[in-house]
């Protein structure tokens, strides 16, 4: 066991830190700074910030040099996310799908021409991507995708509907998982298209989310003509490629996330110290004090789990069985923490917006925490994976439609 840092890691950290210090948006983190609030404001803010990162080569640092990345080592990526989190710098938002999902998937399975075409504008922040996987009847059961792409020789005709597609309304391109063969087992008839969102026949309709913002969409495809050159890899190999994409949903940002959650909890501690119940600060109220300290313990453990996973990746090239366990752990940890945050306010938890404790940040944070236990493999799906693949327990689907029983 050795948790020390190498000299080169230390100097990389210093480099990142110096860049952030110099480049954080003017007034960022001070009360004077006007936080972007609406989705439009956040998109505009994020495009500007991420373009700035891109200009100095801090976007897609994990990409190999030949594709314009920095070829950063795994440890360097971790350090980058840690430092960004420590400085409370804005998180990768608008370009997350492009750099983290589209880029690595295209690098792994795309043709040379596709790589030349798609990769540079992702890194330069000129093109925004969205992930068109989920459908009304294909959520956890993703292989049940029904959106059809009919092969018409030199092009496909796409018909169907996607849902929960984050950023589709502001995206230039879409990672589209669709059905090209209905005669085979469901995961064998899927293909993976890289689709220009400006094509006729694509209609993204923003869905107002639980927070009141509209970040994700329904996307309707009606006789949309998609040129053949947009096909990624081979026909009917989409399931394999989709798994490449999904495998990049989690990664070296784990410890960075931990630091961001820690910032949230420390803010909550301050709020608890400044809020009174029965004449004493909530932080000294025995019940809340225990709960706040418990949240702090759980957060520390997220870091230890991260250290074990990183070690496993460095040693064996994969996060071992710990990946699903880690996701299950931290997503529920965050939910508990956000629940606690609302209860710290007591009756004040009933207010929202400018009138609320923290100007509504706790109300919003609480709602946002559900995204983590639903998206990227819901908790129940994680438990299926853990019990079947890690613990080796039997699969148990015995249900059949009533008429067949």
């Amino acid at each position: 066991m050795d948790l020390s840092q190498s000299p080169s890691e230390q100097s990389f950290r210093a480099e990142v830190r110096a860049w952030i210090e110099k480049n954080l948006p003017e007034g960022w983190g001070t009360p004077a700074f006007k936080d972007p609030r609406t989705f439009e404001e956040r998109v505009a803010f994020s495009k500007e910030w991420e373009a700035k990162l891109a200009k100095d080569g801090w976007v897609g640092i994990h990409w190999p040099k030949e594709y314009g990345g920095r070829g950063a080592t795994y440890m360097e990526q971790i350090i980058f996310h840690e430092e960004m989190a420590r400085a409370r710098a804005p998180q990768l938002f608008i370009n997350f799908v492009g750099t983290n999902l589209a880029g690595p998937t295209i690098m792994a399975h795309g043709s040379e021409e596709q790589k030349q075409r798609y990769l540079p504008p992702i890194l330069s922040m000129e093109e925004v991507w969205c992930q068109g996987f989920s459908e009304p009847n294909a959520g956890s059961d993703l292989a049940n995708v029904q959106t059809r792409a009919e092969d018409r020789g030199d092009h496909f005709v796409v018909n169907g509907q996607k849902i929960w597609t984050s950023f589709a309304h502001v995206a230039d391109w879409c990672l589209l998982l669709c059905r090209t063969d209905t005669s085979v087992a469901k995961h064998k008839g899927l293909s993976y298209l890289l689709v220009d969102m400006k094509l006729p026949g694509i209609d993204p309709r923003p869905l107002k989310q639980i927070t009141g913002d509209a970040e994700f969409n329904e996307v309707f495809f009606t006789d949309c003509v998609v040129p053949k050159e947009y096909l990624l890899g081979e026909m009917n190999m989409g399931w394999t490629y989709a798994n490449t994409t999904l495998s990049h949903e989690r990664g070296p940002a784990f410890l960075g996330h931990q630091i961001r959650f820690r910032n949230v909890l420390l803010d909550l501690f301050k709020a608890a110290q400044n809020t009174k119940r029965d004449g004493i600060p909530v932080s000294e109220h025995p019940v809340f004090r225990q709960k706040l300290a418990g949240a702090y313990a759980e957060l520390e453990i997220m870091r230890y789990i991260g250290l074990r996973n990183i070690t496993s990746i460095l040693k064996h090239g994969r996060p071992g069985t710990e990946g699903s366990v880690a996701k299950l752990y931290w997503s529920h940890m965050v939910r508990r923490m956000q629940e606690l945050a609302l209860s710290v306010g007591g009756p004040a938890g009933a207010l929202d917006g400018e009138d609320a404790m923290g100007r509504g940040q706790w109300q919003r944070g609480y709602l946002m925490s559900f995204a983590q236990t639903i998206a990227a493999g819901s908790s129940e799906i994680q438990k299926n994976i853990i019990s079947e693949r890690v613990l080796g327990m039997p699969r148990g689907e015995t249900w059949a439609p009533r008429e067949k029983r």
């Binding site: 066991m1 050795d2 948790l3 840092q5 440890m75 501690f269 608890a272 110290q273 932080s283 000294e284 004090r289 225990q290 706040l292 300290a293 418990g294 702090y296 313990a297 759980e298 520390e300 453990i301 230890y304 789990i305 250290l307 074990r308 990183i310 070690t311 496993s312 460095l314 040693k315 710990e322 366990v325 299950l328 752990y329 129940e380 994680q382 438990k383 299926n384 853990i386 019990s387 079947e388 890690v390 613990l391 080796g392 327990m393 039997p394 699969r395 148990g396 015995t398």
Partner: protein, 359 residues
């Protein structure tokens, strides 16, 4: 960055598991459960022959010169086997306290017996207050080092011939070694696999260990306990998963029911998160890391809750069979529930965290 054990440490773990499976099956553990003061001298002797007692002591006192980290996986195996021997109390707790707090001379006198297994030592900390911090220590040491007070919940007290006692002297709290004259009352332990007792000190002669205060000894003792707890919990999960794969109801293994599968997945999550915390705490005490206070409090508070929860679910997965005396599950469950309460329960350690976190 390497947050993992070495290949040698894993080899020792594997050897320990094989050895304990052969020499300490639960049939052996059960030989002692009717005697509240009982423990396995036989197993102890064999462990001494393997050199385990001396592992983490310096060569100068007859040890093998390894570090506390070399004990961590071994403690887990002993916890897995609910081995009825005072290894935790003597070697990983009292012995480590003497190593951390004793002068060179004191170490040279007291440790060889512990490192060879000839002597059994244990810590006596808690009293009527039921806590493990300085504030709960009322046992007094006079200017000559004579101790007066009542110690409770002393692990392996009936087996021990050397007590390392937390007491309040003229210069504050510290550790005192009592070799003779303490009166031990065996108590009925909830954990029937290892004895517990109370200690009456009445002007009992003692020697103060040179380094004042209860930390870092208390921290290392607590971290060692969490390492052992993780081992016991891992056995509960293994038993539950294999039972769920075999036991059939409604014409299918109960392990194919999602309610059972998801329970097991949650048990694994509780186990792995507690294990990460225990390993980190052990690493922190072994290296005197900056955040060692926090790390130990995190591991014990979280592990106490999560592993006790895991133990309960282990019984639930087994159904009626686990409700019997004959089934082994209660041995493991009682070990975990007892460990939950000792060396600071979850609430006590969370209060420590609150202070450390600036609340």
């Amino acid at each position: 960055m390497d947050f993992d054990f070495s290949p040698e440490q894993y080899t020792l773990r594997d050897e320990a598991r094989r050895f304990l499976e052969q020499q300490c099956p639960t049939s052996h553990v059960r030989e002692f459960i009717d005697d509240p003061a009982g423990w396995s001298r036989d197993l102890w002797k064999q462990m001494a022959d393997l050199g385990w007692m001396g592992l983490a002591f310096p060569e100068s006192v007859g040890g093998l010169g390894q570090s506390f980290l070399d004990l961590v996986l071994l403690l887990g195996e002993l916890g897995r086997a609910v081995a009825p021997v005072p290894f935790l109390s003597s070697v990983a707790q009292a012995g480590q306290v003497i190593l951390r707090h004793g002068s060179g001379d004191q170490q040279a006198r007291l440790l060889p017996g512990i490192a060879s297994g000839e002597r059994v030592a244990t810590l006596a900390v808690a009293e009527g207050a039921g806590t493990y911090g300085d504030a709960g220590i009322e046992t007094r040491a006079d200017a000559d080092g004579r101790l007066t007070g009542e110690k409770r919940y002393v692990l392996d007290a009936p087996a021990a011939d050397l007590f390392v006692v937390a007491a309040r002297g003229p210069a504050g709290v510290g550790w005192y070694v009592v070799e003779d004259g303490a009166s031990v009352t065996t108590q009925r332990s909830y954990d029937i696999t290892r004895p517990i007792g109370s200690l009456t000190l009445d002007g009992t002669p003692a020697e103060r260990l040179a380094v004042p205060g209860l930390d870092p000894g208390l921290r290392i003792a607590t971290a060692a306990l969490t390492a052992e707890m993780v081992g016991t919990a891992s056995k509960i999960l293994d038993l539950s998963v294999s039972y769920a794969k075999e036991r059939e109801q409604f014409g299918r293994p109960i392990g194919s029911f999602q309610a059972i599968k998801h329970k097991c997945a949650e048990m694994l999550t509780d186990l792995e998160s507690s294990r990460s915390a225990a390993f980190y705490a052990c690493w922190a005490v072994a290296t005197d890391a900056e955040d060692v206070d926090l790390a130990v409090a995190v591991a014990k508070s979280y592990g106490s809750d999560a592993l006790a929860r895991l133990g309960g679910e282990g019984v639930q997965v087994h159904g009626g069979i686990a409700f019997t005396w004959e089934h082994d599950m209660h041995l493991y469950l009682k070990r975990i529930k007892t460990a939950e309460a000792l060396f600071g329960d979850a609430a006590e350690h969370r209060e420590r965290i609150a202070v450390l976190a600036g609340l």
